[in-house]
């Protein structure tokens, strides 16, 4: 009996010691896409509010969802995309935001409010928006880049970089085939799977953020990228250009939300309000190159950027573009397709 008592005692002491490691200043935990903030903004928030910020990064929406759904991380603020926000609202993973604590919300352009994934705008505050398109190196590609089909052209074998992200890669394939990128039709999805498997020998690599280094240094001719990354890469290497194919593409919105894992909702709202302050919103959009929904921050940007199709396309040009919708029960079909394409 004594033996077990000591064992229990040891476990109790160990737990207390482990739990005692935190403390001191208030902590805010932020979960954001990799390479998606001006890090000075975090330091400024820490200084101004006297708190400590723990900053974590994810590579895809699915990655983030799995972690928050498993209850890991105690995240106070996360920045997922449209369809994932819808899914998290439906699964009751998000807190409603008290907009009285986020007065800077008034600066958000009205066309980014009340979007389909959060119709009454109760759960999210827009952070950035953009499209998915093809970034190509003008010195290596002599055909016009106006269709996703160019990514299936054998002429560019081993010169193509694809996104290692299932929703985007399956989505553009569906668009190439002329289907909706939100389809739940098994026949259409099978066709997309076959097309992706057929394309695999032509692909140089399936990449995440490495795409930036690769395209800037001219390692590949064509890459599927998000518009904001395209702006950044074109700034670094003038040989690069960005195109949204005629078949249409994905129009996306990344917004700040407060997951139910948050233990300090008030501080989370302060952070969201801070991120929506004009000077901070400007710092972020200027640094990462993505398009801001913030009216005042946009005014401060270099006027030449306004005419840049990659950064601020006119909404009427995006008619063929679709916003991702939550797939609910079909999500597992997409999971399986991507697993099979990668495993082939």
């Amino acid at each position: 009996m004594k033996k077990y008592f000591k064992l229990v005692l040891f476990m109790v002491v160990a737990t207390i010691l482990l739990a005692g490691c935190s403390g001191g200043r208030e902590t805010l935990t932020v979960y954001n896409w990799g390479d998606y903030i001006d890090e000075d903004v975090i330091r400024e928030f820490e200084k101004e509010f006297g708190v400590r910020v723990v900053y974590d990064e994810f590579a895809t929406n699915e990655d983030m969802y799995v972690k928050i759904n498993a209850g890991g991380g105690n995240y106070d603020v996360a920045i997922p995309s449209d369809y994932m926000i819808k899914r998290m609202i439906d699964e009751d993973l998000l807190h409603k935001i008290d907009f009285d604590n986020v007065p800077n919300y008034q600066y958000i352009d009205d066309q980014f409010k009340d979007l389909g994934f959060d119709p009454n705008n109760e759960y999210s505050v827009p952070y950035m928006w953009g499209t998915v398109g093809i970034l190509y190196n003008k010195t290596m590609v002599d055909d016009p880049v106006d269709s996703w089909k160019i990514l299936w052209d054998e002429k560019y074998s081993k010169q193509i970089l694809m996104l290692d992200s299932q929703r985007d890669s399956i989505g553009i394939t569906l668009k190439m085939l002329g289907y909706s990128l939100n389809t739940k039709n098994t026949q259409e999805l099978e066709e997309a799977k076959d097309a992706l498997i057929e394309q695999k020998p032509l692909v140089l690599a399936y990449v995440g953020d490495e795409v930036k280094d690769k395209m800037i240094s001219g390692e590949a001719a064509l890459a599927v990228v998000w518009s904001g990354d395209a702006v950044y890469m074109m700034r670094e290497n003038p040989d690069l250009a960005y195109a949204i194919p005629e078949e249409g593409s994905n129009l996306w919105f990344d917004s700040m939300v407060i997951p139910k894992t948050s233990k300090n909702k008030e501080l989370a709202e302060k952070f969201i309000n801070f991120m929506t302050r004009t000077d901070i919103a400007f710092m972020n959009t200027d640094y990462i190159g993505y398009s801001t929904p913030h009216t005042e921050a946009k005014k401060q940007l270099d006027p030449s950027l306004m005419n840049d199709m990659a950064a601020y396309p006119a909404m009427e040009d995006l008619e063929d573009c679709e916003v991702f919708e939550d797939l609910s029960s079909s999500a597992s079909v997409y999971d399986r397709i991507w697993t099979e394409v990668k495993a082939k």
Binding site: K3, A205, A343
Partner: protein, 274 residues
């Protein structure tokens, strides 16, 4: 056996960090969620036996075996050089072998990417010799190179530690009795070094067959190995059941191969780092 008080921390450690996770993996691999609670299923194991996943398993074993073979071919002579008693500065040589292991494994793998790229250092050097750039990166060769580079010390060190312990009188006796150096190697050095070779093979094969970082970085995400499959199920897809089932199958395969190895090893003197 009576347990001493001092061993409790280790027992607690093993329960929390070894037994509990193993139990959880097993649990997830055979259960699924329904509205009425948990149900028992073997569906995840069944799914693994679809050709596409068997192909992944086959590819993992193939690449790991090739890497282990290359490591053995490169590592055995290296261990013999290190164990040579005529060798001066042996400690420096051994140290040179170990120092790269102090650097983070990911960093070293990233460094290979810069070396092998189309506009990388290796191709620039070839360019100076007027040789057209070659694709070194993002193929099976690059993955094998990454494995051999990262795991070679795990082959050399166990063999070295066995070779260094061989009684030099045995070699002299063999010479006195008329054996030439080839016969001495075949009849004395090789049999005596088998325990070291076996632990070297195990220590290279295990990490090689389960690695997921090397194929991701050097293979460009095109060569899904068993480790990638498991990682993908847990991190991106969230199919913990299938991920756990693959892990359990992997565990069983590794246990079997260790059992086979152990059978040989029992007859010999244990050697190396185990």
């Amino acid at each position: 056996m009576k347990l001493k008080w001092i061993s409790y921390p280790y027992i607690v450690w093993m329960i929390i960090f070894i037994l509990l996770p193993l139990f959880l993996i097993l649990f997830y691999s055979v259960t699924y969620n329904t509205s009425e609670g948990l149900g028992f299923t073997l569906e995840y194991f069944q799914r693994f036996f679809e050709p596409i996943y068997i192909n992944v398993l086959w590819r993992s074993f193939k690449l790991a075996l090739v890497s282990t073979g290359v490591c053995l071919l490169l590592g055995y002579p290296m261990a013999m050089i290190l164990a040579d008693k005529e060798l001066k500065n042996r400690n420096v040589m051994v140290l040179l072998f170990i120092i790269p292991m102090w650097m983070n494994f990911l960093l070293r793998t990233y460094a290979w990417m810069t070396l092998l790229e189309r506009n990388g250092i290796l191709n620039s050097l070839l360019g100076l010799l007027n040789i057209a750039p070659k694709d070194f990166l993002y193929n099976e060769g690059a993955v094998i190179l990454g494995m051999v580079y990262n795991f070679l010390p795990f082959m050399v060190l166990p063999i070295y530690s066995v070779l260094i312990k061989i009684d030099k009188n045995l070699l002299e006796a063999a010479g006195d009795l008329g054996a030439n150096s080839a016969t001495t190697f075949r009849k004395i050095i090789l049999p005596l070094s088998i325990p070291g070779v076996l632990s070297g093979v195990t220590m290279v094969f295990m990490p090689a067959v389960t690695t997921f970082v090397i194929p991701r970085l050097l293979g460009g995400g095109q060569f899904t190995l068993i480790g990638n499959l498991i990682e993908q199920q847990f991190l991106f897809v969230g199919d913990w059941g299938f991920g756990s089932a693959v892990s359990v199958i992997m565990l069983i395969l590794i246990l079997i191969s260790m059992g086979v190895m152990g059978k040989y090893e029992k007859e010999q003197e244990g050697g190396g780092l185990w």
